[in-house]
Subunit: 282 residues, 6 copies
């Protein structure tokens, strides 16, 4: 495994997960007479789903026991049917049993997000509008969940507070005006970073545009307002519709002509995908 | 904050969460002219819910900035109405804005679990059966989610693989018989730990009882089978019903006379509770 | 090496040990002209002993220098004569010399515990009573020393405060009565964990039994009292004799009919076993 | 607490110790109704002893719970009688009970070393010879045990491999001659570090002296040999007697005129001192 | 201190620095009879300079010993004369002496960068061109050195590889064309991040512009080329002059009309500023 | 890589450096179509220089991506001409590009120090005086920079505060006299460590000598004073000249007959050496 900050973060998260489950040892598996014998197990989809997180699940096994070997049977982002084998893992029986629950907890969560994202993505088909995620992610899972969104066909908004400016109500109030808020931010950020302004109405949209915002969020606007905003902006900034968008409402928002729709539910409300680990020969 | 293993684990998880969001800095807040001024904000319920995770949300602020002060307005486990103020946080405006999303991501997740648990718990009212959680928790969140279950009125099954033995199919197969599996485990565990055997049928129940299991899981049994099992066991071991129990089915299972019902959905399928952080005066 | 919490703990302990000894470098070995040449050395028993800790000693070498290779010549728990070769280590001369003292410090300490445990174990021969250790272990060495006890023929009491309840005087005083103390504990622990009550007299034994304690410790009781307690309990709970038991007194205690005797001296008073590392050809 | 490397090392060691004992929580204490109430407890000597490690025992409490307060009643290195109160600790009852065993495990071990050292030190009274420890310390406890030696009246040999050169048989063999070994070492070490050569006979002593060694170890020599060596060296280097010295033999070795005697048993064979923690009012 | 990723990074760096210097203890200061007595010392400029790093120097003292108190006498970015007192530190004499060198090593390095940056900044006076730093920073010192550049009047280019895209020769070659390289990058980055293309000639400039690059670097171009490029771009992208710019050449480059000049030497070639720590009363 | 404290320190420093540059990912390289293809690149000297730090640069690549392979083409300490290939690195193109800047930042800094040291060393040619470095090093880089000094032909003074005593003005003032200061230090240090006293005049030199100092620093003395001091000491202690020595003045100082000259500028004022990483075939 590489030692980038992201992989170090991931290794720490996996270690927290293994640590809280294993503690001073797996009392059940350590008593198995054949716990050192090689066994094989398959990750199997128990319902149709989009796969995300296989490499993380694999890491759970190899961090617990480097002698485990995992072979993915499908690619990240694959859409699979019920019964599909997602990956095959080999290793000492005791290691497979000890890591099983932890690996499944990751895989089921991330595939759930990919599966839900795919549904949103399909709903937007043909609109030319890009589906974005948000920062409403499970603490510690930002990179994993954003990868799951990509696996489901979505794109990522900023990774965090450090690679994009987002000026909201509180910031505007603190800075007196949108113009001053944008100007103050511009002075302190690298030349490679853009500024987005969250707007509730057309007056704010005009001010944001005048201030030089590169991105304008249309927050909880009506469809009529959004259309007017898009017309008013006329390509001089990119536009993002936001505000409790659901599968039922997201397409209509996109059809207002915005460049992006962002949906928090992708990462904070996706139900687990149903996946099991089946030991071969058992 | 105490330095127990649990609090060290929690601090690491919070640091992962703050780290992935803040990275090299909150570009937006650092440009605010009044970012160092003291501000006040309230955590407000936007729907009826059961509260869990306030102390974690508080830690997010104080780890980011020790000068923040948080005062809970309700206790862990409180049932609150829409509009209730859950906690009040004071500190430099910039710190409040930088920590806001991370704190909410924890609080909404955990309160969601407590709220769902409460519904299951109420469903079991009067049965005398205890509601248990499982090990199907978000990786890294074991202790937090188990506390949320308690906040919602549930009780905790074993914390992990180290404080209880659970003998399943694979273990039985590996050990030749339930008797041998129980016996092998008994030799290796401290005298303070009990053994549970997962049983699919009455024959296994008899064997588990004969082997001296202190707990017997009735896994995916029919109600008729469960009643027979409970009668057969007759208090010589404790009994647990398990297997995709839902709000619709959990009471009937409990009424078969088992001591415990365990529900994975408490921790892996609870929707977020809707909570916001409102800055005062804005 | 696996990355379980126990192995992570062990790696940290070894790193502390190597760190305090090596600091900014082994000034003596780094000046050797042949420090990079492969050398071979044997761990040799200088007195009869029971072996424990070879895998830890091996880890000291491989953590210092992954090119070192260690081959155990006897199994954990082996009883060996003076002069026996316990393990053979190969690697760059400089690495062997730099790690030697640290590895020996571990191995001599743990083999000392195993050797002493074996003596206690033999003393109990034929009584049917199980020899247990305690929590009086060298800080940081809990798992290692408990493994050494097993290597010497003993069994382990609870690993720590988390996998067993032990109600003592102070807890009873705080809870008003044994009944209330047991009841309060029962409500907060997983169903897989047992409760032990420390009793000084028969009245307490009766109360512990009535309260449902699964284990009863007979603390510093006379042999007469212990026999009465065992008779009174009559198998309804397991029994443990405790209190400054020595090689001279432990058998008589066991013969009172208790299930367990626990001996703190196994881990806090075992003298080092005499073991050396002999370089071949030197 | 300062953040020097030594205090960071110590904090890590304490965290390992608390971690292995507390794991996911103190199941017994967390059920006490008055676990949050302030309590007071005294560390009491149960036998005459020399005190070492009070500040470490104190750190165990404050790391577990910063609200604990510890007040030493005697100084490091004090000789106390049976019944003496060594320190008084106040804090929440639950915290005192949870930290008790871990703190005692440190304190009893270190006071045991100080007590034994004192006996050796007294044995040397009037000889003018300085008592030194060795590197045969419990892994991870180097600085603590060396402080305990000082508490008992001894002095410290080098802290590790980095602040002194010690040329032994293997180094001499590898370097062809003592002269070459000393010369090679001298070229690579800071001008502030001295070189010691371990000598088995007078020929080696002469060679070490000729090579410019600042310290000469007389290893397992007879008293006659040692006297000759001391006469031969005549103050041109410092001298150290070494080799399984005991309370019975150490004074005679010192009386051979060496500057130092070094005794491994100070740190690897000292029995625990008997100390208890007594809760007040219980 | 806050626990953001940046402060955690800084704390680690300071701990590395204190660790390498203090090791097992400051042998000289620990022998001072008055090492625990409170002392006062001043950081004094020994030449005219621009101040940067006082808060880091302060952290060195407080991390070593939390009882130290530091009071800055001038602000970050101040231009001071020879003899000016920059900060005053109080604390135990031993702590001041132990931390002195480490704190000075930070402060002299960072003030050196601020001082050099100020010279470049003055050279550009009136051009309207912004002075930028680069990623040629001392490993581990990125945030500190970028703050020193701001203290000296400069601005910061991207913090690292994660908050800006910079397409260079190798990237263009790998992607076949500038258009394809920009397009590929655009698909994978958040909507808040801009793309810069490094161009050696006007043909590349035209391609970068056509591809939609928001920033264009004019790398090692002649002044004539740069003027043509600026005219050609005509405000449709921002422009940056780069390539071994010195105090002698930077103004002429700026006068070609570019928005930014970037200078690696600010961070990799600034000589130390001369600062000392003077103990009062000594 | 070995796991000594020094290598652990180094790994932490490299991780800080990679972390600050890579953050959440290399946005530019991750978009390259051929980022996974194997590429080859050479480190090339762009000016004559002395090489130091190749193994560190190599570690940057392998820590980022263990599949990278680096092969040094010249040894540490080699003097090379402009155009010389110092090392060759192979690995996935994306990994090479992501690690390039970080590796160069290390290598250029350390080779700069080695190159400058070589110049000082040559200046001293034939004097028999040894060139020493100081503790004025970049925080965190102590071991690396001291290795660079050795690569350039210099020798190392003490590594830090723990392996040598250096008594300065403040220490003397605090201890009343040089005699008392030396005596107090002697009592607390291992017998393997020497004491140096910093002297400003001959009176202090005499006192230091009388006190038994093994090393005497002649601090900012005139050449005449130094000669007198050397004559006065007459080999009874080693001598070190110190105080803003430059290439212009160092030889004259050495010719006063001192054993050592120490130069802070070696590590705090060496300009970067000019080295680039050239991708093959690009």
């Amino acid at each position: 495994m590489k030692t980038t900050p992201i992989t170090a973060h991931l290794a720490t998260l996996i270690d927290l997960a293994l640590g809280e489950d294993l503690g001073t040892g797996d009392l059940t598996s350590q008593a198995l007479p054949n716990r050192e014998q090689k066994a094989v197990a398959n990750f199997v989809a128990r319902e149709p789903l989009v796969v995300s997180g296989l490499s993380v699940a694999a890491l759970v096994f190899t961090r617990l026991d480097p002698s485990c070997q995992i072979k993915a049977q499908v690619a990240e982002g694959s859409r699979v049917k019920k019964g599909a084998v997602l990956a095959r893992v080999e290793g000492p029986l005791g290691s497979l049993l000890s890591a099983e629950r932890c690996a499944l907890n990751f895989l089921r969560h991330l595939s759930g997000i990919a599966t839900l994202t795919r549904r949103y993505h399909q709903t937007l088909s043909g609109t030319g509008c890009t589906l974005l995620d948000t920062r409403k992610t499970t603490p510690g899972f930002r990179a994993l969940e954003k990868a799951a969104v990509r696996a489901g066909g979505g794109a990522n908004h900023r990774m965090g507070l450090f690679d994009g400016v987002m000026i909201k109500d509180n910031h505007i109030a603190a800075s007196q005006s949108i113009r001053q808020a944008v100007s103050a931010a511009r002075k302190q950020i690298p030349p490679t970073v853009k500024i987005e302004v969250e707007c509730d109405n057309l007056k704010q949209v005009r001010a944001a545009l005048a201030a030089g915002a590169e991105l304008i969020m249309l927050d909880n606007m009506s469809h009529a307002q959004m259309r007017k905003a898009v017309a008013l902006i006329a390509g001089r900034a990119q536009t993002e519709a936001s505000g409790n968008l659901t599968l039922a409402t997201v397409r209509a928002a996109a059809e207002c002509g915005v460049d992006f729709v962002s949906v928090g539910a992708l990462t904070h409300s996706a139900p687990n995908a149903d996946i099991a680990l089946d030991l071969q020969g058992s």
